[in-house]
Symmetry: D3
Subunit: 225 residues, 6 copies
């Protein structure tokens, strides 16, 4: 019922907000927005230390066919991240060094793909970050249409074009574009509070005391033996 | 039938024995105790080169709830390792930088958790070793009781509080506390013997000759073509 | 019906051809031979940057029993790679530092095993590359026969003794011995062409234009919004 | 950021449209709406022959806690289906005979749950259909809030409250409420056409001829040997 | 360190207690003993409607080798159930019609095996119930020792010889022998209470009212919209 | 390097031999040919009691594209079975009622597909047997070429066109065409021997005695306690 289409223009969050979200990282942002928006844990970075945040340009495409990634490159802008989802379960290597070179030339920060990725040694050398469900050389064709900048479900999370994706060693999290400013603020508050807590814990104070848990444990009926 | 409880005091193996087990590593110890005690291979370290051994402080807790980890921190001693097992299958990120900071302040050497772990970049920088079945930012609550220092089954292995856990790049192995001295000795013997075998193999001798396998192969009826 | 046997002599591709295949890597070779020969993506290297190519010495053996690996070492030659497949699904740690020492002494380049591997820290230090489906300390016995240099299916790919295996961070690919020369040539052509494409993409040209995809997209009926 | 809430009233598709979708079944409906809306294939019925269609009442709840299912029962109407999704991966047995009895008393037609289900023998005797990712006795608590009638992602498909869920032996498919009328029509057309095709195939005509594929195969360059 | 051994005599719970546990079924027993003792949900019956309870005769054996099952048959008594666990992960078909015939001749009620089972059509015709993690024809050898009537971990649950295993369509649960009498009583109470609840739910009363959950929801801050 | 092609004519085993193999079933045949040829245990029948044997017509095709199944139908003969393998991992529903109707009209006995199948209720009613790795409504296109009657690896087993596939509740096994006569004989002998053993076991004789295992256990050092 939906014909394949490319939506050229999407709204994006501000670079400032995206930068702040990136600086806080996935775990803090995920907590700050009420433990929502996390992609499934099978989405892993191809190298340790990978991190990024950017506006999602989404791609829905058939299994084993990367034609639409090429169509998507053209509508990406500097600071975007590409989010690629096959219409059915697939681990083929849709993406490698050539597409990374092309995306980098457009200023795209990285890729989140619910499928496979290849040329991972070269991508690591380029420091082009990718989060994928598999590493696979399996080649794809350029034969069939899909859509660019439509809503997608990626690894269990609903992503609208223009939403902010944050990704690091802990995984990938999506923040609704309209909520990005608020979530960035909440992330900042949380980070500050965690920093204070960290210092207290490092000095040997217990979470039981810092979080006031002794009473809760007693009320719940915990016994000590 | 079992009410939630924290057992404050447990018996531990001697630091000397634990140190010797750590020096031999998981594969040697596992062999030395008759190929028993190995946790399932889905328990992986969060960074290459992680290794540790220590006395197990065990935690049994509900899915998605890390309250009891806080209760466990208090009963840990220097040299312990924490072993955390949800009562049902769960990949949530129960543990991150803050809890690692707290455990380190108590002298705890690391964590084995049959669930998820987060802040892995920071934990790697801290060199706080964790073996987990998943890496996940998924936050947990502090709402419900569990138990500390009760027998648990972790990744298919039975662990009593005070048993010795050895963990490295190869995985995780549990040694019964009462057997730790004997296993350390057997590990030493095995390591020595392997060292001699290694030298012979490095010089080009064949396992067929070193282990006297040619006769066995012939007796079993192997044909050479 | 097949009695266990060791085939001592197999035909091999030339060292020159194997070297050229190795230099191109798995993804290029896989594409160059028409997207065939790839092993399943669960076969992963034990350390980043591992790569090799060599003539396959194949081993078919029982679950939990590595006796036949010892028989295989004797028939390996410098430049070979060992390919080990249990007769039923198994993740035991058939292979570790001792066998790697022995194989290296014979000039063997590395291992592909559809099972488990152990001593991965030491193997990494030795730079002895292994692709496996699991990392596991689980020890094996030396009790039962299997065969060496028989056809095997490894991780979904059919491998004949003497076929060329190429392995790197992207996975593992098998090239038929008789086709190795042609595939090496086709890989070279592909690599050259990709190099030109890479430069154009790096300058900001789009794949849509380089691959002439705009007409295809229009013919297929893609809409732009 | 979202506080837990129960939305009491939702819009629903007409009973007539839902009935027509149910009569066509999952595979036909999925095709008729352009191969979209299918839940992942790990969602399986607890007994062969189970089938249903209804308006989705959605439940988002914590791992291991079924409190919100009780809150959802109250807002269900005759002809609804319950769609239950934990906020993180969980296979606990949230649902059994008692809840099925309660739902049936409200006229609810069945359950789709991305978690576990228990009492499956009794549910089968009751002919209360359930599609789940696991069968598990693992009990849940009634301790924490979630939400009812919010958008959810269930097994990879985005579901809005009031969308139509169709489920049978082939799996589960979601149809947008607003599109339900059109999809029902398209399903009817497709079913009619398939019925004609079936008769021709049964008489021995080939798909090659009926679908006019011989020319396509020739154009694509297929060789016959 | 442990030499292979067969323990001939074990203590068993009374037939009366075992019968009462069987009549209540897995889900009720699991709840009655505090939600413990459940085996992982990948243990599935080979046919719908399978159910049994009995005293566990445990077998620990190597991957791909069923010799010790034969040794175990001899020490089984009428009313026992066999619990078979390989020392490492294995899906081979250790068990089929012949062994079932032998076990039935000894009065054994069924099998729980953390591996594979075969001849399932014949076992179904015989109504010999088996819970396994796989169905596989893969044959096993009779070459190596293991142990009978030692403690085992089966599918994540710790089982002592003589513990009571209950199994039905919902899965498998273990009850400690010493607790069996108490658990049977608690199961009876729970079943009675559930029966009353079922009637109230069937009449249309809501769980919200029966379990007094409205106040809890309000206290936790649930909003209705 | 291989162009897509359809091989029209293949050699087949005799109907008599195929019939005898079918009568013995997968587990007996697999044993009789030396425990080889078994497909992975994730290949399951869509209904209990499904069984068949026939000559393999093989299909290699792209993920998500069933065009080549239509090309294959034309070259099938009465008594054949279709074996379908995607070139990369895929669970799409390539096959349903229409194709089953077409295959039946040609006298084809059933399907083995390392992907998904749909319309399973109808296929069950038709008693058209299918072994698949998934049940899925996910539709496929008819856009790209593959090959018919080429060697394939299906679920870990190597299959040549014309090999005999036997499939039942226990799984699927392939018998080389040239060996089919011998394997049928060996299966007959085995079945006869098993029948005698079954009677002895049913009378209460122990496998320990029938297979003469007591001496072996003693020689291996088994202790009785």
């Amino acid at each position: 019922m939906n014909s394949p289409a490319v939506v050229r223009n999407i709204e994006r969050a501000s670079a400032d907000v995206i930068g702040r979200l990136e600086s806080h990282g996935v775990s803090t942002v995920h907590e700050a927005q009420g433990r929502t928006g996390l992609l499934a844990s099978y989405m892993r970075p191809i190298y340790a230390g990978a991190c990024m945040a950017g506006s999602a340009v989404t791609v829905s495409l058939p299994p084993g066919d990367n034609l639409m990634i090429h169509a998507a490159v053209e509508v990406c802008r500097a600071g975007d991240v590409l989010v690629v989802v096959p219409t059915s379960c697939c681990t083929d290597g849709y993406f490698g060094e050539l597409l990374a070179t092309s995306l980098r030339a457009q200023g795209v920060k990285g890729l989140v793909i619910e499928a496979g990725c290849r040329d991972v040694l070269r991508l690591t050398e380029m420091k082009f970050p990718v989060w994928s469900r598999a590493i696979s050389s399996q080649g794809t064709v350029k034969a069939m249409l899909g859509s660019v900048n439509v809503p997608v479900v990626c690894a269990g999370a609903f992503v609208m074009p223009g939403d902010v994706l944050i990704a690091d060693d802990d995984g990938v999290c999506v923040v609704k574009r309209e909520a990005a400013e608020d979530v960035a603020k909440a992330s900042g508050s949380r980070a500050k509070k965690e920093s204070e807590t960290r210092e207290r814990l490092a000095r040997g104070e217990l979470g039981l005391d810092i979080y006031n848990l002794r009473k809760k444990l007693a009320d719940l009926g915990l016994k000590y033996i």
